[in-house]
Symmetry: C2
Subunit: 202 residues, 2 copies
Amino acid sequence: MGITEKRARHKEAFRREILDSARMIFIKRGYDGFSMRKLAEKIDYSPTTIYLYFKNKDDLLFAICEEFFETFLTELNRIRSVSRDPLRTLRQAVLYLINFGLLNPDQYKLIFFTKSVYGTREELVEQETMARNTYFVFMEIVQECIAAGKLRKLEADVIADTFAIASHGLVAKSIFCANSAKGKNEVVALTLVDALLRGLRK
Amino acid sequence: MGITEKRARHKEAFRREILDSARMIFIKRGYDGFSMRKLAEKIDYSPTTIYLYFKNKDDLLFAICEEFFETFLTELNRIRSVSRDPLRTLRQAVLYLINFGLLNPDQYKLIFFTKSVYGTREELVEQETMARNTYFVFMEIVQECIAAGKLRKLEADVIADTFAIASHGLVAKSIFCANSAKGKNEVVALTLVDALLRGLRK
DNA sequence: TGTTATTCTTAACGCTGTTAAGTTACCAGA
DNA sequence: TCTGGTAACTTAACAGCGTTAAGAATAACA
């Protein structure tokens, strides 16, 4: 192993360390509560060192989002490979996302309710991100439901949006609204998803 | 009219002016983009003067939220007085909220996705705010639907939450997700609400 | 006119993201 | 082993932020 290679490895590992520390602070203190100086202190380097590994604060957030979508995409493919019933696949996919949000509200908020890290739709399509890939796979699942005659023949993106909305709304409510029914989030989740499936079934 | 009364009136008017200017900046630039210094410049006073009329930045946001819930509550009562069919009332109420969100995404974001200005559930119930009153009226509408045998006999707060979630999710998606189907928000809104009503109907 | 309360401003503290410039550490070639 | 260059990192600074303490100006009343 050459020395330049060793250096590259160390650099990669250091980038990882920065990213992991950043995620912890982001999740714990929120977007505003996060600061480059706090991150610097945590990793025991000066604030400016971070800029050698990430373009800026939002670039750190982008990297964190991409990592989430990577695991989400993996999970989608797993669910898909296990179940052959597309409607069941769809239900499990949505419930997975909701469950993640309810278990990790701060991270969900960070990823979905903080900044439009992926820009406009055109930029997203061009950019070859994990977020884009995940959205495409999700659309495929919905289209399989329609093709199998399990869902009403609405446009696939409308239905896909509808389910994404369910998750977003549910988690948003549990995060932001103090007057939401505490401890009933799981009940509401099932009520919501199954009501939607019932309402959209052929 | 005494002079002290005149002063009180002027003070009230000035407070209004500050609040209106604050809302403009908040909506235009978001929570982070808003600053006390920018507000001060807009109203042509020093930053510290604002603190004589509002406790701090979040107190300004609270006042803006309360004003929204006041108009929303008025609208809820209007819809209710016009229509006798509770299910139709519920549908219109939800669509009003969604429509407001789609037309005023920045303000919706500010009110629902920025900070938990109303604290915990206990604090909300104690505090006698417009937000609390609005939530109670919304719950009443749902309960009327159940009492009239139009909805499945789930717990009222679960159903109320489900519809609030629909609105939150839809608007959240249109705000934050670049990959949402642009220009189709109205279609998605109707699909979502009617699917829910269909799914929750008795 | 003198006293007092109200209203507003100046100055400051300790934060923030980010950049420019300078310093140290290390590796390659002679 | 010495030297040149580069990669890694730091110091210092700019302009902005929310908020507070203390002082100045204004207006109301005696």
